[in-house]
Structures are given as structure tokens and as C-alpha cells.
């Protein structure tokens, strides 16, 4: 919305000051994420800009913290654990969540609202309560300090996201498509894979991405349910910040920011594709 030529001086002032205010809030939102990128190349073991860095002297910059990250075996183990746990947790929550969303979206589904409230609850219950509950219960059934235990816990935390995104995709779903496919002689299985899946796939993938990032970024439950063998990247960062704070954490943080940027890009592409397929927006 550009400023009309007849705007009064007061409106003009407001127009520009409003944009300055918004700019400041955007800086608040995004600044902290980008400020750590240059810091991770610091040659000194500090969390602030050294005079060499300020004068753009190459001496002030180095890749030592990335090298540190790359050669340290405990970080390597954390990376492997993070991906291992997140991938399996995502698979479980995507599968169960998609099935449930399909059921919940049927008009004849009984007790829809209370069931939905229950299935969304892992997202709402404070993490510390979930973590403490899982810690006691999983210890009793022998799942504590195992990869399986952490995977199941993360899968439970990730399912609400899948249920929400897939249900949202199904809101605009045209049920006559199923009848059309069946009247043309397709079996229910064929209908599912040839008609339903292609249409809900964007929702499933973005739900899966949410579930993945939930597990990948989760630290409270891992701290309680897991042990050192299940140490993930967030766990390592958490204990790193609490104990000896080394700029290696900044290098890891930079890598994680890159990962989130690529995830965000994937999601944005998916969203556009989904809107195009459903004819919601032109082009």
C-alpha cells in the first residue's frame, strides 16, 4: 500500500515512522540469528567481536571452531544420534499422524473434537511435565536410556504437527474425487495411492518436516529419558552452554541455521505447489 499523493504531512510522518518501527522489530527478530554467523569464525575463544574482526583483518578470522566440531568425536556422535532419532521418530509420527488425520477428516467420525484435543495435547502439555512423566514410566518398562525410548517419546511429541497439517490439507478435499475414482473401477488401494496420496502429499511432507524439526531441536525429553549414549546436538549445546562455553557451539549454531533455512525453503516451495494444485492461487 503506497502513500497516496494527497496524504497530509501527518499521514506522511506516520507512514514513514510506522515503517521504521516495523523495521526495528524485524531487526529484533532476525538480527540475533545472523549475529552469530560471523562470530563463529572468530579466531579467539570469545563470544564477542575482537578488534581484529572489527577492522576486517583476516587474522581475526579462522575456521578453528568448525575444525574443532569436525574432529571432536563426541560432536560426531551427537550428530549421528540426532539424525538417527529424528528420522525414525519422524517416520512413526508421519505414518500414525497421517492415518489419524484421514480418519478425523471423515464427516462421519465420532467424538471428533475430544479426540482431536487429546491428540494435539503433546504440543500443549509443558515439556517438563511430559519429560518427567516419560522418565518415570519409561524407566519402569525398560525404555529409559535407550534409543528406542527417545524415538518413541519424540514420535509422540511430533504427531500433533502431522495431524494438524494433514487435516488442514484435507479441509479443501473434494470427496467426489474418491467416488469418481471408484466408479471408474479403481480398488480402494488404487484410489488411495493414485488419488488421495498425491493430493495430501504436501501436507504430509510439511507435517513430517515439523515432526523432524521437533525431534531434532528437542532437548528436555532427551535430557530426562536418554543417557549419554543418546546425546543429541541440542543436548550437547545445552550442556556446553551450562558448563564450559566454547565458540564451537557458535559453529554448530551456524550449521543449524543453514539447515533451518533449507527446511524453510523446502516448505515454502511445497506450500506454493499445494496452492497451485488446489487452484487457490494463480501461477
Amino acid at each position: 500500500m503506497s502513500l497516496p499523493p494527497y496524504a497530509s504531512p501527518l499521514e506522511r510522518t506516520w507512514y514513514y515512522s510506522f515503517r521504521v518501527i516495523c523495521g526495528a522489530i524485524f531487526v529484533f527478530l532476525i538480527g540475533p540469528i545472523f549475529v552469530i554467523l560471523p562470530l563463529s569464525f572468530n579466531a579467539q575463544p570469545y563470544f564477542n567481536f575482537t578488534p581484529e574482526m572489527m577492522s576486517l583483518d583476516p587474522v581475526g578470522y579462522s575456521l578453528r571452531w568448525y575444525k574443532d566440531f569436525w574432529t571432536d568425536e563426541s560432536w560426531g556422535q551427537a550428530v549421528r544420534n540426532s539424525f538417527f532419532i529424528a528420522v525414525f521418530a519422524t517416520m512413526i509420527s508421519t505414518f500414525l499422524g497421517t492415518l489419524a488425520a484421514l480418519g478425523l477428516s471423515r464427516p462421519e467420525m465420532p467424538y471428533r473434537s475430544p479426540l482431536m484435543a487429546l491428540l494435539i495435547s503433546p504440543m500443549i502439555v509443558p515439556l517438563i511435565i511430559s519429560a518427567a512423566g516419560m522418565y518415570f514410566f519409561y524407566s519402569r518398562i525398560g525404555l529409559a536410556s535407550t534409543h528406542l525410548g527417545v524415538i518413541l517419546a519424540h514420535a509422540a511429541l511430533g504427531t500433533p504437527f502431522v495431524v494438524i497439517t494433514v487435516t488442514a490439507t484435507l479441509v479443501g478435499f473434494d470427496n467426489t474425487l474418491i467416488r469418481a475414482s471408484q466408479s471408474l473401477g479403481a480398488t480402494p488401494t488404487t484410489t488411495f495411492f493414485k488419488v488421495i496420496v498425491p493430493l495430501i502429499l504436501p501436507g504430509v511432507i510439511s507435517g513430517g518436516l515439523f515432526a523432524f524439526i521437533t525431534s531434532f531441536d528437542e532437548v528436555v525429553v532427551v535430557l530426562f529419558v536418554g543417557s549419554v549414549d543418546q546425546r543429541t546436538i541440542p543436548w550437547a549445546m545445552f550442556s556446553g552452554i551450562r558448563e564450559q562455553i566454547s565458540p564451537t557451539i557458535l559453529a554448530v549454531a551456524t550449521i543449524l541455521v543453514m539447515i533451518s533455512i533449507s527446511l524453510l525453503a523446502t516448505l515454502e516451495l511445497l506450500r506454493r505447489r499445494s496452492e497451485r494444485l488446489r487452484g487457490l492461487s494463480p501461477g
Binding site: 509443558p126 518427567a132 531441536d217
Partner: protein, 422 residues
């Protein structure tokens, strides 16, 4: 309609069943089919999420330890009442000896000692001391021998405590969670001043969450408004600036704030450089309330902007034009026409941010220091450090009740079915 001949008034299907029955049967089948799709997730969530939480919350009233470690004593105490003002009879002391010897051998006595110490300081050492000596006691005058170990065995309040806590269900954890306790006579009283922490902690958690929610509304409103009036292409680009923090790891964002806010950090450096502060006048911005406020506002702001934006997007611009054309000043038109229309968005975002803020653990633990910690941090502390699981569970029940209340409020405002992400 060959087989479905109309023999009477009822419509029937081909095989002769009335149409109504047949329809109902078909409906029931499709209901079951829909339910079967949800069932696997339901079982999964129930087993790995709901049951563990209920199991933990039950610990807030569970109190079987006295009954388990001192079974004979509990039975022998049945006929004794603390209101009689008399010492329990000799049989009770004999039973106590038996239980303590066994408890010492099985190493369960330590847990009992710790448990009773929550209610009455000094109980821990009493039981440990008695545990070591009970085995060598002779089979006569147990009362005298126990009294020789510790005078506290001659104190009626000790016995009143054991009697009271032999009940398998207790309210003492909940009392502790609201800064109360049972006194020597078993009446509820408030804790001494210096031990009252939890009520204040709850108030602080709620007040800070409300404060963070308010700041999020103030900062989120203009951004959501700007995004909703800009042309699609520009607003999509700016939306990325909102979504990127949303997708960035919580720990990354917390780390950034540590780098920015610490005393030797970037913000302080900058202020010294510009000359607002002298080098030794650096301000403490982290490990206190300010740290928690700033970092959590940053983390939760996207949760405010996204629902607000989706509501503002649906408000037709013609409303404002109509108000202006009828002579309202821009400010009045905004206040009387635009703002009331955005209330659902403010409500949805506000409740969501509040729910998320009130249960936060990681960020307050890392940047909150002493004064900026939340109730969650104390729960975590009681679970893993002090091992007072009953108190942790009681605090958890109170926190969860609060959150579920807000959740039902959220359901009323937006409806859980309409929840959207990203």
C-alpha cells in the same frame, strides 16, 4: 427395485431389510472405519504419552512408603490415637524394631527417612540412627531401648506423624506446593516465612508469562498489520523474516542472546563504544529477569504474529475506507473499526504465547539466573536433583491445570480444529 417389493409402508432394500436399518448399519460401518484409522495413533499416544503423565501425576498423592517399610508398626498403631496424649503401647515398639531391622537390611529405610524428613526435620537422622542400632536390641522393653537411641521416640508428634503418613494417600505434597504444611498436631498451617517459595514462584511465572505475552502483542501487532496490507510479493518476502526464527533451533536463539546480552557481550560492547556506558559501568542483562524477558519474547513472537496475520488478512480494507468516508479520523477509524475486528487474532495468539511461555524450561534455565526462573525449572530440579518426586508431581499438577484451563480457553476462541501452522 425387483426384490424390494413394497409389501407394506416400509421402504426396504433388495434383500428385504428396512431401508432405515440398512442405512444405519452402513453409517455405523463407516464410523467404525473412520475410527479404526485414528485408533493406532490413539493407542500410541495413550500408551507413550498419556499414561506416563497420569502415572507421574499420581505421585503427587501417592504415599505407600510408610505402609511398605513399616507394615507391622502401621498395623500395631491402628488402635492408638494421637489425641489420647499417651505414648503408644509396647507392642508398637516391638513392631517398630522388627520393621526397622528389616528396612535397614533391605536398604529401604533411607527412602522412608528422607520421605518423613519432608514433613518433620530431624526424622532422617532419627531413622538412620535407629536403623544402625535396632539389630542389637534385646527382646525386652523396646520402648526403653528406642528412647535410649533417641529421645524423639518419646515424642508423641513423631508417632502422630507416622500414624498420619501411614495413609496410602496424602495431601502433604500439595500443601507443600502452596507453601503450607501439617503442624505437630496434624493441622494445616502456612510454612514459616523463609520457606514460602512456591506461591511466589507461581505468581512470578504467571506475571512474567503475561508480561511476555503483552510485549509479543505490542511487537507483533504492527508486523502482522504491515504484512497484511503489503502486496503479496513483498509480504511473502517479509514473512520469511518471521518464519526463519520460528524454524531456527531454540538453543541457537538462546545462544545468540547469550552472546548479545552478557556483560562482555555485543550489546554492552556497543554501548561502551558509543559512549552510553563506561567500561566498568557495564549492565547485567543476562542471568536475571531481563534475560528471560528478552530471549523468550524473541522466541515466542512468531507464535503471536502468525495467528494475528491470518485474522488481519480477512478484514476487508473497505471497512476502514467506509469509516473514513463517514468522517472518522484515521486514529478513530482504526480504534473503532479495525481493532475490534482483530480481537480474535489477539486472543488466539495471546493465549498460545501464554500457554507456551508458562511451561518454558530451557531458556529460563540458561539465561534466567536466579530471579528469572520459572516453575518448570523447580519441577526439573525436584525430579533430578532433590529427588522429591511427590512435590515435583504436585507442582506439575498445578501447572498442568493452569495450562489445560488456558487450552480450553484457546479451544473456545479459535477451536482446536482450526489450528494452523506456518
Amino acid at each position: 427395485m425387483s426384490g424390494g417389493a413394497v409389501s407394506n409402508d416400509l421402504l426396504t432394500t433388495a434383500d428385504g431389510t428396512p431401508l432405515k436399518v440398512s442405512l444405519q448399519r452402513a453409517l455405523r460401518r463407516s464410523r467404525i472405519r473412520a475410527f479404526l484409522l485414528v485408533a493406532p495413533l490413539l493407542v500410541f499416544i495413550a500408551l507413550f504419552f498419556v499414561v506416563p503423565i497420569i502415572d507421574m501425576l499420581y505421585r503427587s498423592v501417592e504415599n505407600t512408603i510408610v505402609e511398605k517399610v513399616l507394615p507391622n508398626t502401621v498395623v500395631a498403631l491402628e488402635s492408638w490415637s494421637p489425641s489420647s496424649d499417651e505414648m503408644p503401647p509396647e507392642v508398637v515398639f516391638a513392631a517398630l524394631n522388627k520393621d526397622v531391622v528389616k528396612g535397614f537390611k533391605d536398604k529401604t529405610l533411607g527412602r522412608l527417612a528422607r520421605r518423613l524428613n519432608y514433613d518433620k526435620p530431624g526424622m532422617s537422622s532419627l531413622f538412620r540412627k535407629s536403623g544402625r542400632r535396632a539389630k542389637r536390641m534385646k527382646d525386652v522393653d523396646f520402648q526403653g531401648q528406642f528412647l535410649k537411641v533417641d529421645k524423639k521416640w518419646g515424642d508423641i508428634t513423631t508417632w502422630a506423624l507416622i500414624k498420619r503418613e501411614s495413609d496410602p494417600v496424602t495431601a502433604s505434597y500439595f500443601l507443600a506446593a502452596v507453601d503450607m504444611r501439617y503442624n505437630e498436631n496434624g493441622e494445616m498451617t502456612s510454612q514459616p516465612e523463609e520457606r514460602q517459595i512456591y506461591v511466589n514462584l507461581f505468581i512470578r511465572t504467571i506475571a512474567m508469562s503475561a508480561g511476555i505475552t503483552l510485549i509479543c502483542v505490542i511487537l507483533g501487532y504492527p508486523i502482522a498489520y504491515l504484512l497484511s496490507i503489503l502486496p503479496m510479493r513483498t509480504s511473502s518476502l517479509l514473512m520469511i523474516l518471521v518464519l526463519l526464527p520460528f524454524w531456527t533451533s531454540l538453543l541457537v536463539r538462546t545462544t545468540s542472546w547469550i552472546a548479545l546480552l552478557q556483560t562482555q557481550g555485543i550489546l554492552n560492547d556497543l554501548m561502551v563504544l558509543v559512549g552510553i556506558l563506561s567500561d566498568d559501568g557495564r549492565v547485567q542483562l543476562i542471568h536475571n529477569k531481563i534475560g528471560t524477558f528478552v530471549a523468550m519474547t524473541h522466541i515466542l513472537l512468531p507464535f503471536m504474529i502468525l495467528p494475528l496475520y491470518s485474522v488481519m488478512k480477512t478484514i476487508p480494507p473497505s471497512y476502514m475506507r467506509a469509516a473514513r468516508s463517514m468522517g472518522a479520523s484515521p486514529a478513530l477509524a482504526f480504534y473503532r473499526v479495525y481493532m475490534p475486528n482483530t480481537i480474535p487474532g489477539v486472543g488466539a495468539g495471546g493465549v498460545l504465547v501464554f500457554i507456551l511461555a508458562i511451561g518454558y524450561y530451557i531458556t529460563p534455565a540458561l539465561v534466567g539466573g536466579q530471579s528469572g526462573t520459572f516453575i518448570s525449572n523447580f519441577i526439573a530440579d525436584h525430579v533430578s536433583t532433590t529427588l522429591n518426586w511427590g512435590l515435583a508431581a504436585a507442582l506439575g499438577v498445578l501447572l498442568l491445570t493452569l495450562v489445560l484451563f488456558m487450552y480450553s480457553l484457546y479451544d473456545k476462541i479459535v477451536g482446536i480444529n482450526n489450528m494452523k501452522l506456518g
